[in-house]
């Protein structure tokens, strides 16, 4: 129940995360992001508009990816989280650490 798609927009990696991220599949997201970073991604936007659920396991992968990107001089920004995903971002305080935008376009423009 997790699909990940990427598009490259003017040097930025727009990663669409669709479906659900829970403890059973969070490592898929983590592995995907790690691979992208190893392949040179530095400016990443996660399009969360089609993500309906994320638990702490998913947040852990986001933090790991963010740390790696930061160390490499890049960034991880989030776009259009659903209300449920927004809840967990706020509960964990990640909404104050990661930049969160209403739309993917705004997130892309922010770079």
């Amino acid at each position: 129940m997790l699909e990940i798609e990427t598009a490259h927009v003017e040097g930025i990696d727009l990663v669409g995360v669709k479906g659900r991220v829970d403890s059973a599949n969070a490592n898929e997201l983590g592995t995907f992001l790690s691979t992208e970073i190893e392949n040179g991604s530095r400016r990443v936007v996660l399009d969360l508009s089609l993500l309906i659920y994320m638990s702490s396991a998913g947040l852990r992968e986001l933090v790991n990816a963010y740390r790696k990107l930061q160390r490499a001089g890049g960034d991880l920004r989030l776009a259009s989280p659903s209300p449920r995903v927004r809840d967990v971002l706020e509960l964990s305080g990640l909404n104050t650490i990661l930049k969160v935008f209403e739309t993917p376009a705004e997130a892309l423009q922010s770079y």
Binding site: G19, A24, I52, Y53, S56, V63, R84, L91, S92, I97
Partner: protein, 271 residues
Amino acid sequence: MQELCLQIACVLDEIAKACDLVASEARLAGFDERGIHHCYLAVEEACTNIVEHGLRGDDHNEACIEVCCQREQDRLIIKVIDTGAAFDPLTVPDPDPKASIDERSEGGWGIYFIKKLMDEVAYRVEGGRNYLTMIKRVAQPTQSISAEPPERREPKFAQVVRSGGAVVFALSGYWDRADALALSDAINKQLENGRQQFVLDFADVLGMNSSAMKALIKLWQHVRDRRGQIVLTRVPANLYELFELSGLDLIFHITPSLEVAEQKLARRPLL
């Protein structure tokens, strides 16, 4: 209310079953979408902790977690029981959500979420089992969903007309009767527009109660009477079991993908 329990093996892939049970009980208890989500999330976090941290013998496939739900007038009592080594998760210090990324704690977030999302959390050991009890109060005591009149609410579906003429409805979230009625209204409008082929995409549906399923059957009858066709697609495994139990799999064509659904619609002659 009787307590409902489900045993699952100590593997991450099984956790969703327990969460689904709790979510449907939360729905029946009268929680709104947010409350249901909180209950689902709390159970996932609790079970994940047990699978990832609980010490036990090598056979993780034995049923070693039991999740029980009890609906009371104004609250839902959830118990997560496991046979792993005794460990009180409530003794883990809270991570700090305001900490910077460098100071941020790796772990402890699961139990922290549980404490924040549930109204009461308690732990005890009894007879070699760990009992984590989580209680969430319903904001206002309500009757069960089937007794409520259908409310106006945000539709939990998006519709797209495909090039072949079929209308695809992408459904999401937890569905009850009101959602199914909203879908019926939308399909009616499309029937009036001359559309006759409909695909219901269940990929993002988290759960569905029995009154929603009954409404779907009525919808099928209505569409069939108007010489239309409905095909279901991408029904999640847990929901598929429910469909089989209620006979929906005998009424509806259920396909694994959108492509197959459209092929099916194209092949079947209109009556």
